[in-house]
Structures are given as structure tokens and as C-alpha cells.
Amino acid sequence: MNPQTSCHHPLRFDADKCDGCMACMRACPTAAVRVRKEKAWMLADRCIDCGECIRVCPGRAVVPLTDQMADLSRFSCKVAIPSPTLYAQFDPDVSPGEVFAALKLCGFDDVEGPSRACDMVAAATEIFLSEYRGQYPLISSFCPTVVRLVQVKYPALVEQVLPVVAPREVSARDAKARKTAETGLPEERIGTVYITPCPAKMVAILEHPGMERSYLDAAVSISDLFRPLVTAITKVRGGGSTATTAETSSGVNWAFLGAVPRSLRAADSLSVAGLSNVIRILDDVEKGRLRGYRFIECHACGEGCVGGCLTVENPYVARSKTIRLTQKLPAASPELRSEVERRWRNGEFFMDAAFSARPLRPLDENISRAIAKMTQKEAFLAELPGIDCGACGAPSCHAFAEDVVQGEADRHACVFSLQRALAAQVEELASLVQGTRRSAGGEDQ
């Protein structure tokens, strides 16, 4: 089975804009970038869609592949489903109602606020945890990059990924049902569009891990919509009052890390954000260290979704703004809980497909050959300087040694290896010359 066959990635390296500066290669947390002939390219099976390369590229050569508004013309009715992080991009006085109205001015027919689904999913998670009897801790599945990280790097942990549907999917399913009833249009004419803080949600739509299908049809980035939205908000605010929304403090709280542990109010849950931190926590889970925790909420981006690479506002400022907004919003309705319980019995929040492991390609499919390659790799690595200079086009000496053993790089791509090889040749030449002179009869003196 080739792990690459069904592998989508939400970004593309634009060779015309790339000047080979290696910023992306150094930032990539899974060593998925190589630079050859002054151009960066991606090892598709290693990429987990975290977007670090998009964030650090000074030349905007890493292009996120989210949808543009023009791509949505195939739908008769377009419903925007904002990420809770959207509100924090604007002035703290801007209300959710004004954001909804602005989204409509930007071309959407309707808006499905994120809070209701977030509140329902928090309640569904609580129900799931109360009934769960398997291995602890459970790992949250709301961040698609975390799901991919587990599939690729922690294949033995896929069974501990929380099989509760993400809020954006609940919103999309509810919006489709509501709009089909309201308009009489067939479901496929109703476009559910996530307003996304990161490109990883595109992959979740295309590959829908853990689900038979995705109820979302498209994702438009917050950064692409930001300027038209700011213009529209100005217009909306000039035009008087806007409708109130059903947004809640606990729902909008999902913008930054800790929403589920906060709503669970449980001491045996923890939240972690930023890929290097997530990796350390998952390493501990794999070693059996965190069995005392029941639930771990993991976000690939620092601070949670407010840190997404397709947002505009600084994540810390965005978090502060979110807190300010939540203070003005009502709590979730207590009646929601009974609705969640009813829908939970219908299996509505439960993922309907299994998460599959897709472990990274090992050194070799045959273990004997893999062992031989590992021995070669270690021997070659010992010859390398170990300074991870990147001049060879690989992010570390370790990655380079592996590329060489796999026949994917030439060992003389390392300037130190090359220097040594040249020095040896020069020495050989020198001794050859000296030998010639001696046999020619000592001409020097």
C-alpha cells in the first residue's frame, strides 16, 4: 500500500517565487522539505499540513490552496461557517451580528454561527468520555494537523483519537439540513463554506479522516476575506442595527486552546498547543506516561486556532480580544444538553469511519535491508560534521544521511564530504607529481 496515493496537501511551492533561502526547510517540524537547485520541494508523505512553511516564507512562495470566492459560483446557496477565530480579527467592538452581515455583503447567502456546534460537541465529548472504557488518554481530533501527525508519526495511537465529529462538520451538516428545508434546493446546490484560519481544514474536507464524507464543501481563508470583510463591516456599521446572533461565550472560546478542558471542568484533562509541544506530549503518551489523563486537547498552532497561519491578527492579541468578546456573550442554553443527548443516541456526533494509521515509509519494507541501511546511515552520519548547516539541501545531517542511504542525495552534496574528497584527491595528485619528478631525476634543485 502506498501511503502517498490518497495524500492531499493544502499547499504548493511556487518555483518562480522560491529563491531557495531554506527558511521553510528549517521550520518544517517533520523534515518534509528539501532544497535542490535553489528550489524548495516537499516530501509529500512526510508533510502533515501544519503550514509552518507558509508562515516563514519571506517570498510568499508557499501558496496555501484554499478556495477563492469565485470558486463558489457552482452553488445556488452559499452558507458561511466562520471559525470562532474570525471575530478576533476585527476591532473588539465589532459584534458577531455585524460580522454575519458583512459576510452576507461579501457574497454569502447565509451564515451558520460556530457557537452552537462547539457547545454541542463539548457536551458530546463529555458524554463520550463518561461512557468510554478503552485506553487513556484520548487525543482530540478537531485539529486536522494533529490527526495527520498521529496517523504518520504515532500510528499505534490512532485508536486513542477521539471519535467525536468536529464542530465545523456539525455546523455544516446542520446548515445543509436547514437550508434544504428552507429553499427546497437539493443538498449539493447548497455550499457549506468554512472561513478558515489554516489550510489544514482543506485536507480535512478532501480526506475526511474518521468520516464517510465531509459536510463541508469548501474553505476560504480568513486572510483572503479580511480586506473585503473590513470594508463590509464599515458599511454595515454605517447602516444602523444588525440582527442578534445565537453566539455564546463557551462557543467562541473555541478560538484558543483549552475550550474542551474548560467546558469539561475536569482536572484529568490537559491542553497543549504548538507542534513541538504536541510532539513531546504524544511521545509521552506513547511511552505510557500520561495514562492518568483522560483527555488531551492538542492544537498544531501556538495558542490554538487563533495562531493559524491564515489569520491576520497576532494570536496573543486575538486571544485577548476573544476573551473580551466572550464577556459580552451569553452562556450556552442549558436545554442544549438534552438535544445533544437525543442526537448522541442517534449516533450523530460519532465518527462513522475508523482512523487509519499511515506510518512514515521506513528505511526499507524488508526489515533485514532496513537494518543494513540503518547501519550504513549511522556510519555515514559519523563522518558528517553534525552542525545541520543545511547547505546540502536537507534540514539536518541526520536527514541528509538518510537521503544518501536511500539513494536520494549524493554524498558530495555535503560541502564537508566534498572538501574531504577533494583534499584526498589533491594529496593523491601531489604524491603523483612528486613521484614523477623523482623519476625524472630531481630537477628541483
Partner: protein, 143 residues
């Protein structure tokens, strides 16, 4: 065939809490890179972590050797330390000689050795009081 085995040796230092767990993380990465089955990786990860923490908590220092062959993953931990007086007692679930300090760090549930044994196919432990302990475990790989 002699080449058909990969070996890596780690030096683990007692009381070095800041680096505790590094050897078992590295072992896990090597096994994944070799294409060892995820279930075997996980069992080795749990066993090697428990063994590493035992060294950090109780011993002065140890050599931890990982050997991987096409049929088995083997881990040998040879430590210099106080040794174990009564191995049968130490193997009982819930029995622990952890100090209050260790318990404060979340260890000392008395599950270390039983956990290692549970995850291993071959388990052998020998100890000499005030000299040290040698632990040998092996986890079979389906050929």
C-alpha cells in the same frame, strides 16, 4: 548473519531528571525508522521508558543496549546501583520503594517492573545488592 542486527547503546545517568526519557524516545524513533510493527514499537516504548526511569530514580548509571534483529527487539539494561533485595516482591503490582520525592514526581505506583514484564515476551532480571541490576527483555517480531 552478523550484519543482520542493529545495535545502539545509551548511557543513562541516575537522578538526571532533565534528560530522563530521551533514550526511550530515541529507541522509538529508531524502531519506526526500521519499519517495526506499531504494536511492537509501542510495547518497546513502554517497557524501555519504565526501565529508563528505574535507572534514573534508583541507580547511579546504566548502559542501555537496544538490539534489533528481523525476529526480535531486545533491550538490555545493566546498571550500577543499590540492586534489588527481593525480586519477587519488586515484581508485585503496587509494591514500590519510591521515596516521597519520587512520588511527588508522579512515580512510585509500583507498576514499573510488572509493566515491563507485561509488555515483553522474554523477561529476565538478575540483581546483586549494592552492585547493580541487569534486566534483559525481548519482544518478538512476526517474521
Amino acid at each position: 548473519m552478523a550484519y543482520d542486527e542493529f545495535e545502539r547503546v545509551y548511557e543513562v545517568t541516575g537522578r538526571d531528571y532533565a534528560n530522563a526519557g530521551r533514550a526511550s524516545t530515541s529507541i522509538k524513533d529508531i524502531l519506526k525508522n526500521l519499519g517495526v510493527h506499531p504494536a511492537v514499537v509501542r510495547r518497546t516504548a513502554i517497557a524501555s521508558y519504565e526501565a529508563e526511569m528505574n535507572v534514573v530514580m534508583y541507580a547511579v548509571r546504566a548502559r542501555m543496549s537496544l538490539r534489533v534483529s528481523p525476529t526480535a527487539v531486545t533491550l538490555e539494561v545493566q546498571d550500577e546501583g543499590p540492586g534489588i533485595e527481593d525480586i519477587d516482591l519488586a515484581m508485585q503490582e503496587g509494591y514500590s520503594t519510591a521515596t516521597p520525592e519520587m512520588r511527588e514526581m508522579g512515580f512510585g505506583a509500583g507498576m514499573g517492573l510488572p509493566n515491563i514484564k507485561r509488555n515483553a515476551d522474554v523477561f529476565d532480571i538478575k540483581s546483586e545488592v549494592s552492585r547493580g541490576t541487569r534486566l534483559l527483555i525481548s519482544i518478538a517480531q512476526a517474521a
